[in-house]
Amino acid sequence: MWVYVLRRTLLLIPIFFAISVVIFSLIHLVPGDPIDSLLGPGSSKGDRAELLALYGLDKPLPMQYLYWLKDFITGDMGQSIIEKQPVADMIFYNLPFTMRLGLLSLAISFFLGIFLGIISAAAKNTFVDYIAMIIALLGVTVPAFWLGLILILAFSVNLGWFPVSGSGSFSHLVLPAVAVGLGGAGLVARVTRVSMLEMFNKDFVLLLYAKGLSRNVIIVKHVFRNALMPVITILGLRLGWILGGAVSIEIVFSRPGIGSMLLTALFRRDYPVVQASLIFLTMAVIIGAFITDIIYSYADPRVRDVYK
């Protein structure tokens, strides 16, 4: 087990370097730079050259990358060119907002998705199944930003239950979390349903019926537990995604967060912020997948055996 964990951990190092090269190259190859945003009216070419030199943007790209990498791996994410703030401070200011939104939406995805998946599988090809799957389909297909606006209209404008936007209290968190969470719930519901239906066809289920167990006990204690593995995989992969995947919801609900910070930085070509945020988000996805692998291998020895 530990050999497997070590190998998977070591694999993260080349992945990090590959990602850092791609991200650094992409952002620097896109037209535009942050200097135009810094120059005041009447600035001369000399002023521009001075700023380029100040931020090291006058050096060849590979050299810029190496300087940036050296700082990054020693824990220095640099300073925002536009906001003049340490990038680490900006990320850690925005991270709690994103985490709160992400964790609540993940919980909604998990519980609602599993609930829909179970009732849908248990009542296969009935009216309940169809309704549950329509809800799941809508959750998967409806864009989160549109759903967000509809939720605002229904629960803020018409019913007045929740604030329209902002981030001050828990009530500010509910609608954005539902808007993001419903997408995941649809996915979880569909996977749960398929996985449970597969389990229903297994011989051990027939045996459990033969032993005289009630249908509810069989569903909850045996079928559902065995059907949970694919659901864990999905949720594990979404762990990383939720950190950066809620950009449109952060904009619609006017919430601070990593996604909206990244978008703003991207428009201004604030290279240090874009680079650090993208690496942070990408590594979050990879580490999410890594943790899922570990959990998976812990639960299923066949996965570990592959690496032996």
């Binding site: 037209p31 730079d33 005041g40 519980f111 606006l149 605002i152 404008v157 936007s165 009530s171 509910v174």
Partner: protein, 524 residues
């Protein structure tokens, strides 16, 4: 798991009333919540020396030496008086007595000298480029020697970039000033700033130096102002209709009809500094011909664009400057007005004939041009209408869209043909910004390089001895540029603000709504 779930739910249920109780408590304060124009969001700093972008907060935390009224005149504020010598080479500034910064330090001639000297080293240095030396005469008076007369100097000091910060605070806090510490003399004091979320200002209880443009020259009637940074137009609108914000600065065009229908909403329309235009690249093979540029400019129907894109809010633009500037008043024949028939005649005289597909052809070459615009703006919508309008003349327009940072970089390549752009500025010196031949590519997107033009520009910018001469010089420069048909003027926009019923404010007397005007605002 079940117990944990219960805890989470209980925490949430507890947090809900807690959040509500905060709202109830704060309701006892007189709080004005403003959804700021999305274009003003994303401020990097509130230090006027280091930033090159400002927003309304600058107008409230800082005072300026002089103010510009809605009538276009300049009124004293921190300056009690100013005196310009006959040759225009010496200016004496006398400060108002008794003005204090939020940190308790005094505004005096030492601070004013420091302020003017720092301006000369910061992003706004061009504003004081003519200053040679500054001498303190007494505690409230400084004398400034200029290298040349600068009739624009008072206008510069009405700018939000020239709010006066505390010398003591900047020296004490250094780079931290402008983010966690912001100290001015304004009617409101900086309280907190959550980047990308909200900025909170508190009433300055010691304020007694409002300008003569305000009825109330003492402390404001509002205890707190919350500026919300909401980027999404739909959310801004919904916050307003649910009472989450009291003022919707620059109400989104998409919801104007609904806001105007609502009798409880006070719609305030103010002249803006905004001008939309289409730039033509004078180095392009076809567009280097002034006659083709003229034909294209005459094919742009300003009224139709005003109606289709701006729902009639604004005025058609026939020159490069906004309507209220004196240098805008050019000879009628220099105005660029829609005239499709003349445009067609010009193209026919140049040998262009209409091909089978309705597109002009000459020597086997179809007349096809690209039209650039930013992807996230009204400029994009304008470009679509212009595409149809130029098809009437017989030009095939291919629209290309860019994000704001990319398009600026693309201008520098000089590969643009036509570009829909806009600016917001209320001084004729904007002509220098866009047509100075030393700024080819950006901001001189027309790639205009012409010695006569530069000569007229220098006359207007640096050789005008007084205000009248400056206006005349700029008018001459403006007329010359109009005759080159480098732009097709489109519209001058207006700012439309939606104000909730509980907010009472007199007719705007300042050039902007969200600024010192708030001294006279009362809330129900």
């Amino acid at each position: 798991m079940n117990n944990k779930l219960k805890m989470v739910l209980m925490t949430g249920m507890l947090a809900l009333p807690l959040g509500m109780s905060t709202t109830v408590a704060s309701a006892q304060e007189r709080v004005l919540t403003i959804s700021m124009d999305a274009g003003n969001a994303g401020q990097d700093s509130f230090n006027p020396f280091t930033t090159n972008r400002t927003n309304n907060v600058y107008y409230l935390v800082y005072d300026r030496l002089v103010e510009m009224g809605a009538d276009g005149n300049i009124y004293p504020h921190l300056l009690e008086s100013w005196d310009v010598s006959e040759d225009g080479l010496t200016i004496v500034f006398t400060l108002r007595d008794g003005v204090m910064f939020h940190d308790g330090s005094e505004l005096n001639s030492e601070v004013l000298k420091w302020f003017l000297e720092n301006l000369a080293t910061g992003k706004s240095k061009y504003m004081v480029a003519a200053f040679e030396s500054i001498e303190i005469k007494d505690n409230l008076t400084v004398e400034i020697s200029l290298s040349r007369p600068d009739p624009n100097i008072l206008y510069n000091f009405t700018s939000s970039f020239t709010g006066v910060p505390s010398m003591v605070a900047i020296e004490e806090f250094g780079e931290e000033f402008g983010r966690s510490v912001v100290i001015g003399t304004g009617p409101f004091m900086f309280d907190s700033w959550k980047t990308g979320d909200e900025i909170v200002l508190l009433r300055n209880p010691d304020y007694t130096w409002g300008s003569e443009l305000s009825d109330n020259q003492g402390p404001a009637n509002i205890d707190k102002i919350v500026f919300r940074e909401i980027l999404e137009d739909s959310t801004r609108f919904l916050e307003f209709v649910t009472g989450g914000v009291d003022i919707l600065e620059k109400a989104p065009t998409l919801f104007l009809d609904k806001l105007q229908e609502d009798e409880s909403v006070n719609i305030v329309t103010m002249a803006s500094n905004g001008n939309y235009h289409m730039v033509m690249n004078s180095t392009n093979e076809l567009l280097s011909d002034v006659n083709i540029r003229r034909a294209i400019a005459l094919s742009v129907n300003q009224d139709d664009i005003l109606a289709a894109v701006f729902q009639g809010n604004g005025t058609p633009a026939y020159t490069y400057l906004i309507d209220r500037l004196p240098a805008r008043q050019v000879a009628p024949e220099r105005e660029i007005r829609f005239d499709l028939e003349t445009a067609k005649t010009i193209m026919a005289d140049l040998g262009w004939v209409v091909g089978d597909d309705g597109i002009l052809v000459k020597d086997g070459e179809r007349l096809s041009l690209t039209l650039w615009s930013k992807s996230d703006s009204s400029e994009r919508k304008v470009s679509v209408v212009i595409q149809a309008q130029l098809a009437e003349l017989g030009i095939d327009i291919v629209i290309e869209q860019f994000d704001p940072s990319s398009i600026r970089a693309e201008y520098k390549t000089g590969e643009q043909d036509l570009v829909v752009r806009s600016y917001g500025w209320d001084n004729a010196d904007i002509l220098e910004w866009f047509f100075n031949s030393t700024r080819m590519g950006y901001p001189n997107v027309a790639m205009w390089h012409d010695n006569e033009s530069d000569y007229l520009m220098h006359n207007a910018m640096t050789r005008s001895k007084n205000a009248e001469e400056r206006i005349e010089n700029f008018r001459e420069y403006h007329e010359y540029l109009l005759a080159q048909y480098l732009w097709a003027p489109i519209i001058n926009s207006v700012n439309i603000h939606a104000v909730a019923e509980r907010v009472h404010m007199p007719d705007p007397r300042f050039k902007i709504l969200i600024g010192p005007s708030l001294l006279d605002v009362t809330l129900d």
